[in-house]
């Protein structure tokens, strides 16, 4: 969980007690609602295998099948869970915890190996699409790249101070991009060698996502807009018109032209929205209403993009995002 995400989690606790249940906008189709005894705080879709993993802060891990919602595994991790990622082939789960460790398990919970990362909580974990690298971030230090197959650290990336708020791999796993708390965007090769950077942002970026072409990244952050940057030289290509609120999460959808984002009103922490942006037309529209918290995004077996929300009663819902 990033620092921003930690802030949002606190905010959402306020939101959930403040808002009654309201319907989602009509352009989302509910796939399944899953009841869990614990409140799931993060989910990760296992590529196109049809599996999705979810974790609660208390260490409970569940793996379900989509779209049925059938639970295929459930176990308790040893320490409070702060980050979760599933590899694209569904072979591994990376579970980051509050004690600064990352455990690799299979989707049934069988322990594979563990990395000791830091003395601080692990904020985010992300697998490269080919499964050869795992990026691990903490809020205090730059992202580390690990080889999940060998348990060896490949590289430690760079910030001027503090850590990274978001990390994403290029679709061909050749590049890794970080949105850093020092406001820089940095792009590295798979060995951790810096290839390009962008320092034109004044406020913190909170989210970074590659477009499917692997040549551009989309960045969202406290400046309340999306910026499109070249992944080759780090230069700004363009910015979209500002939204009313800071963007705390953003992912490019498979079509490459749409971006799903989460905004929270920084002033009041009362307005919470999920928005679809169209990079081609600069249009944006809200697709969800307050009271639900976007906690994940992915694609299921038929390449259907889905988003996950958790409701005030702790139920987890998967929503299909239409074309």
């Amino acid at each position: 969980m990033t620092g921003a995400a930690r802030w949002i989690t606190t905010a959402v606790a306020v939101l959930i007690s403040s808002f009654a249940h309201r319907a989602m906008a009509e352009d989302l189709r509910k796939l399944v609602t899953i009841s869990t005894p614990e409140k799931i705080s993060t989910v990760s879709v296992c590529g196109t295998t049809g599996l999705v993993a979810g974790a609660a802060h208390d260490g409970a891990i569940h793996v379900w099948k989509l779209p049925s919602g059938e639970q295929v595994a459930s176990w308790k991790s040893g320490a409070p869970v702060s980050a979760l990622a599933c590899s694209f082939d569904g072979k591994w789960l990376a579970i980051g915890d509050e004690d600064g460790a990352v455990k690799i398990t299979d989707p049934a919970g069988k322990f594979v190996r563990m990395f000791a990362i830091a003395h601080a909580a692990v904020d985010n974990v992300a697998f490269a699409p080919d499964g050869s690298l795992l990026a691990v971030g903490t809020h205090e230090n730059p992202v580390q790249l690990w080889n999940p197959g060998t348990g060896l650290r490949v590289a430690e990336l760079h910030t001027d101070f503090s850590g990274s708020t978001s990390v994403d791999f290029a679709p061909d796993s050749s590049l890794v991009a970080t949105a850093d708390a020092d406001t820089a965007i940095r792009i590295y090769d798979r060995n951790g060698k810096l290839k390009a950077s962008y320092t034109g942002l004044l406020l913190e970026p909170f989210a970074i996502s590659f477009r499917p072409n692997g040549k551009e990244v989309v960045v969202g952050g406290a400046d309340s807009t999306l910026s499109i940057l070249s992944a080759e030289d780090g230069q700004l290509i363009r910015r979209l018109p500002k939204s009313p609120d800071p963007i705390f999460n953003a992912v490019v959808l498979p079509d490459g032209d749409r971006v799903l984002s989460l905004q929270v009103d920084a002033a009041t922490v009362r307005n919470f929205s999920v928005t679809l942006w169209n990079l081609g037309t600069n249009e944006r529209r809200d697709v969800a209403v307050a009271g639900k918290h976007l906690i994940g995004y992915g694609e299921i077996s038929n390449h259907q993009p889905v988003m996950f929300t958790v409701d005030s009663d702790s139920s987890l819902t998967a929503w299909a995002i239409p074309d």
Binding site: W7, E140, A181, E204, D223, P246
Partner: protein, 209 residues
């Protein structure tokens, strides 16, 4: 603890007690080392940066503009190394909310970037930051950098915060982001009743790379 001459020399040089290995007796080395150890300072505990850091803040020690609502506040301190030496030319970036708990994202109100002079001092005037829904306690953000030292990202908290109910020793844990009681500082009221302000001292200790 008994230390061999080589260990003593190494520790004394690391602490800056020695700059050359003169023919000193082990007892003199041990005394010098112990004396320097007394002046060692614990590094300031780190805390989260986010979420609203903004780059390129102006260098402006008067963050409070005339007429700004809220309790006036003056924060003073010095930047030290963990060896107890003052650090000149440290960059101290500071940002906070206004008295209502709002960050200025469009401009640089309540944001500054100070450079310490030779005596390592820094000082700024502001207002007591407000509470906001996503955070339990009033706080001021710091990002401190200096060549040769690990960057420090931390937050200053106030012992007078109502959240602590007068007992910060016990209640500082109410804010999960307060990583250490050390970051909660006493507040004194200074000045005459017509021109009163809160005063806080916050020393910053950086670790060498």
């Amino acid at each position: 603890m008994r230390l061999a001459r080589r260990e003593l020399l190494s520790k004394c040089m690391a602490l800056g007690v020695l700059t050359s290995t003169a023919n000193l007796l082990p007892s003199a080395l041990a005394a010098a080392w112990q004396e320097k150890e007394k002046s060692r300072l614990a590094p300031t505990p780190a805390s989260e940066l986010g979420p609203f850091y903004k780059r390129l803040a102006p260098s402006n020690s008067a963050m409070r503009a005339p007429g700004d609502p809220g309790m006036p506040l003056v924060v003073t301190g010095q930047v030290f190394s963990s060896r107890g030496e003052l650090i000149p030319s440290a960059i101290v970036e500071i940002w906070q909310t206004n008295h209502e708990g709002l960050y200025d994202l469009d401009g640089y109100h309540y944001r500054t970037k100070l450079t310490t002079p030779a005596d390592g001092n820094y000082e700024f005037s502001s207002v007591m930051p407000g509470h906001y829904p996503a955070r339990v306690c009033q706080h001021i953000h710091y990002a401190v950098t200096a060549p040769g030292y690990r960057p420090l990202v931390t937050q200053l908290y106030f012992a007078t915060d109502p959240v602590f109910e007068g007992d910060p020793d016990k209640n500082f844990v109410r804010d999960p982001l307060i990583t250490s009681r050390e970051l909660v500082r006493p507040v004194t009221l200074v000045g005459d009743p017509k021109d009163i302000h809160a005063a806080v001292k916050f020393e910053l200790v950086l670790e060498a790379m």
